[in-house]
């Protein structure tokens, strides 16, 4: 894992609440986790939040377990809708998904992870 990827992962993990943090530690070990640092996606809270909320509704209905989803929604709901966020795709042995950070300072916002 590159130094940049390690920093991103560390930033995100430090922002997670305990329950999500523990799952994330398990699913995204420092070694063996790939982070697509070359093609992050950019957007705003306004763009991201409704999509994640819809995803949560779908998951609640289907029973699909998505780690960190409810947590990051709560976090985003407290933010200004024009706040810019950046997302990185992550892939590990047992999980894949996204990590999201604030764009301007790369402060971690949360993760959206599923088992694979």
């Amino acid at each position: 894992m590159s130094a940049q990827a390690k920093n991103l992962l560390r930033a995100v993990k430090s922002a997670l609440e305990t329950s999500v943090y523990e799952e994330t530690l398990r699913l995204l070990p420092d070694e063996g986790t790939g982070i697509d640092v070359w093609s992050p996606s950019h957007g705003t809270v306004r763009q991201l939040l409704p999509s994640l909320k819809a995803r949560l509704q779908n998951a609640e209905r289907s029973g699909k377990l998505i780690y960190g989803l409810a947590s990051i929604i709560m976090r985003l709901e407290q933010m200004h809708v024009e706040e810019k966020v950046v997302g990185y795709g992550v892939t590990a042995l047992h999980a894949e998904g996204m990590i999201y950070l604030l764009e301007h300072n790369l402060e971690g916002l949360g993760v959206v992870l599923v088992d694979r």
């Binding site: 996606s41 999509s51 996204m98």
Partner: protein, 271 residues
């Protein structure tokens, strides 16, 4: 079953065909309607007022949406709104086209379908507000020779794929016109990234579709009421089409399939 007295059973087992000229007992008076049906139609009807409906047409209020995911509609309240049902139109509840076809007498065929519950039929503040606003399977008009009921049954058995488009979506206006346009037709976003990353779609050559109507609805409602649902038959792209299907990793379990490219002539189910 086939009345509008609040029998909202979704079993629809009765054989009392409501599709005739006897008319459904709407429970309401002939109050002249409330401005017609503001549904998007496959037959180009657009606004259809009660006085514009030929006498041999039959209105059918579906008890469930085509995929059978949602509770039946409160026909008592709808009957009040459909005050003009007493003018010789039948009304019934049907869960599927198959079931509907079984109820169609003789050679009666379908030539016009109106999808979508107009807001004035089910008030927005009702428990069905979501159903009303994003619509799906609400009213149909029958009569004429163009589309046989059997064809509708075949289409249902083949299945459909749905796409919810929310208010404010960059492609919303195009979607209202039955045109599907991805965020960036020349984008290099992969199917995996499109599926995984909600922020990637603006640069993606794909649009998301699902076989699960509930998923389409939640997407249509992302920005509140007013979203629409698109529907296409679950069939391969014809040769030379401007679009194609692509498998999605569907890591979030949303029964997603991706469409690459631009597609016109898509059915708008309603809002």
């Amino acid at each position: 079953m086939a009345n509008a007295q609040g029998d909202n059973s979704n079993t629809s087992q009765s054989t009392s065909a409501s599709l005739g000229s006897t008319g459904g007992n709407s429970g309401g008076t002939n109050g002249g309607g409330t401005g017609g049906i503001n549904g998007v139609t496959s037959g180009g009807a657009g606004q259809v007022g009660p006085d514009e409906i030929p006498a041999n047409y039959t209105i059918v209020i579906t008890g469930q949406r085509p995929s059978g995911l949602h509770p039946v509609l409160p026909l008592a309240s709808m009957g009040q709104e459909f005050g003009w049902l007493g003018k010789g139109f039948g009304i019934g509840i049907y869960n599927t086209y198959t079931e509907l076809a079984a109820m169609i007498p003789g050679q009666l065929a379908i030539n016009r379908i109106v999808w979508g519950l107009p807001d004035h039929i089910v008030p927005r503040n009702s428990s069905l507000a979501m159903g009303a606003s994003v619509g799906a399977g609400a009213a149909m008009f029958f009569g004429g020779p163009e589309v046989k009921a059997e064809q509708m049954v075949a289409a249902e058995e083949a299945g459909y794929l749905y796409r919810g488009v929310h208010v404010g979506h960059p492609g919303f206006e195009a979607a209202e016109a039955g045109r599907v346009v991805p965020g960036d037709i020349n984008g290099t976003v992969s199917a995996a990234t499109h599926n995984k990353d909600a922020l990637s779609v603006a640069k993606s050559p794909f649009t998301s579709w699902t076989s699960d109507l509930f998923v389409a609805e939640t997407n249509a409602m992302k920005a509140g009421q007013g979203g629409i649902i698109l529907r296409v038959p679950n069939t391969p792209a014809p040769r030379g089409a401007t679009w194609s299907w692509q498998v999605s990793p569907d890591i979030y379990g949303e029964s997603e399939i991706l469409m690459r490219g631009i597609r016109d002539g898509v059915e708008v189910m309603g809002r």
